[in-house]
């Protein structure tokens, strides 16, 4: 499968929305992430690939603020994120999906999406309390519901009032994407969006992604399956043993020795 990152030249002019510089994270003596630097620009899709145990998940956790980096510097737009809790990342314009869909199974599709759009209303304890009081009297979700309906339509999600438990895994991933997109993020991180999905889900996801980037969003796709990701992204970042092994266009990456070494072992030829 060969794919040429045709549009990459144009998109290079976009501003840098996510940047990691020399990020490192170790547990005890184990260095899970070593001096990783990468950046994602507006309107660009970057794939972060590597085999299991390459340090992808740790890097994602560090970027999202779920774990704190030992060294290095992470920025979303111009905002320094290092050491901030994950909810600050969201307020800086960062959205994500999860490797295992994080959805409340006994709640509806609409409700699971809705939370993606209300973060700024819950900024402080007092505002949370205000939301509780207001919520008891007036739902105040008219505009949000319209946007949810639009998004659902775009992403091909049907039956907003179904319980999430009734959805297929592919549909659940779409719900996560909708949640992440509800408040038009500047940076979107998709964590293994294709794992376990059916082919229809993959094509839906691909369509959705191209629309998202058109709106100037920076997208980072994390996956261990290089084949699917390569067809989709402008650039690939290959991780191995905690460090970046290769960066470049998908075509370059697939042809590279590093890729072969990482995926097929040093002896493979």
């Amino acid at each position: 499968m060969t794919t040429d990152g045709a549009a990459s030249g144009v998109r290079d002019t976009g501003e840098v929305l996510l940047s990691c510089v020399d990020v490192g994270k170790s547990y005890g003596g184990v260095r899970a992430v070593r001096d990783v630097s990468l950046e994602v620009r507006a309107g660009e899709i970057v794939g972060l690939v590597g085999p299991n145990g390459a340090g992808k998940t740790t890097l994602v956790d560090v970027i999202t603020g779920q774990q704190q980096a030992n060294t290095g510097d992470i920025r979303i737009g111009a905002i320094e994120m290092t050491g901030s809790p994950s909810r600050r990342a969201r307020l800086a314009g960062f959205s994500r999906t999860f490797q295992h869909p994080q959805l409340a199974l006994d709640m509806t599709v609409r409700e699971n999406i809705l939370i993606g759009g209300v973060g700024e209303r819950f900024g402080s304890p007092w505002r949370i309390f205000g939301q509780a009081v207001a919520g008891a009297f007036h739902p105040g979700t008219k505009a949000l519901d319209r946007r949810i309906a639009e998004l659902a339509n775009d992403l091909g999600i049907h039956g907003l009032h179904r319980e999430v438990a009734d959805l297929t895994l592919g549909e659940q991933r779409m719900v996560e994407v909708a949640r992440a997109l509800l408040r038009r993020p500047r940076v979107l991180l998709l964590d293994e969006p294709f794992a376990g999905g059916d082919p229809r889900g993959v094509s839906g996801m691909t369509n959705a992604l191209s629309r998202i980037v058109e709106q100037g969003c920076a997208v980072l796709v994390v996956d261990h399956n290089v084949d699917i990701v390569a067809s989709l992204v402008d650039r690939l970042v290959l991780m191995d043993q905690g460090a970046v092994a290769f960066q470049g266009t998908p075509a370059q990456a697939l042809a590279s020795a590093q890729m072969r070494a990482v995926y097929f072992g040093g002896t493979a030829g």
């Binding site: 509806t108 739902p139 008219k142 519901d145 009032h161």
Partner: protein
Amino acid sequence: MSRYPMRTTAGWIAIAAAAGLLLSGCGSDDNAGGAGGDDIVLGMITDTSGGASAYAPYTTVGIQLAVDEINAAGGVDGKQLKVITENDGSDTTQTPTLTRRLLENGADVILMNSGSASAISGRTVCVEENVLCVAPTNLSADIVKAPGNENIYILGPTSEGIGESFAAGMSKAGYKKLAVIADDVPTIQGYVPALVGAITDAGIKEVAQEKIAADASDVSAQIARVKAAGPDVVLVMSLGGQTEALVQNALHQQLPDVQRFSLASIGNQPTTWDLADKGALEGLVYVGSIDPGNERTTEFADKLAKKGGDHSELTAYGVQGYDSVYLVKEALTKAGSADDKAKLNETFQQISGYQPHYGQKDFTLSYGKDKHVGSDGNCGLVLATFGADNKPGDPWPVYQPSC
């Protein structure tokens, strides 16, 4: 509205079903309310499962004995007495509701045979419904404290009376420093201030006051504190049972030379005597209401023994239950019928000089508009001692309350 979906598809159906259930409950309740129109109904709040269940059954036996006796003798003005009961388990949240339910089921008079706290919780009902309420065994003067006492009566002597008797006895015996050990049950804690107040008013100094958790398994810390305070007399207050035994054993062990006093509960509970170590109760003075020299008491004891069955041992509770029914009978006779509840309350207040079956020979009960405690003086009490066999024995030779 459709924008506002409720996922509780069936919530309201269930509510409707529940409401239906309630309605059907309406119907059955009305039927259940049919206490025979020809009977005079005594509604009794009792406790078979809570804190007062240790003594309430004795009272019930006394009450039933009196009712049977009166019915056998032709009833009151040709009408038979009938007892209906509700169990509140000493849970004061339930008492008012159950009291009202007794009234709904036809009760003409209420007997409060549960804890003092229950009586207090239920007395608002007595006033609001203007119905005569008698608490046969409760000792707390708070039950009949104004305001809100218009319809409730106790027999007495109250905890204050007990305090006065203790005070007089302790003074006469020359004690100076008192230590109090009480369990933390609300009923007992309610007695503490009245009792201790009366004793300290008599010039005896309170050097220690200790609380014991009702389900305590260890009292050594409290006993050590008492010991450190150096009292020459100790007053133990509990509902009886294991807690009392625990304390008495420890006192017997740790402060063998200090005189001990206790409440009626230990005198009335043979099971507690067995829990105490051998000889641990010897010399203990308790305040009882049973005077072996009172002929009326022995007469009652004989009837009770003849009747037999559970809880037919002679206790003050049984006598007081028995007497409370006869008090009610006197009011009923005077009022002519039970139909006018307000009048029944008034005639109860006219009772004077009733000779109860407990206390000393000269003891009488009288009531009045402002006299809701029946006892005419403290000779309703008897101070008795325990013998070496852990059983109640002779009257305390030092002092006996008088009227």
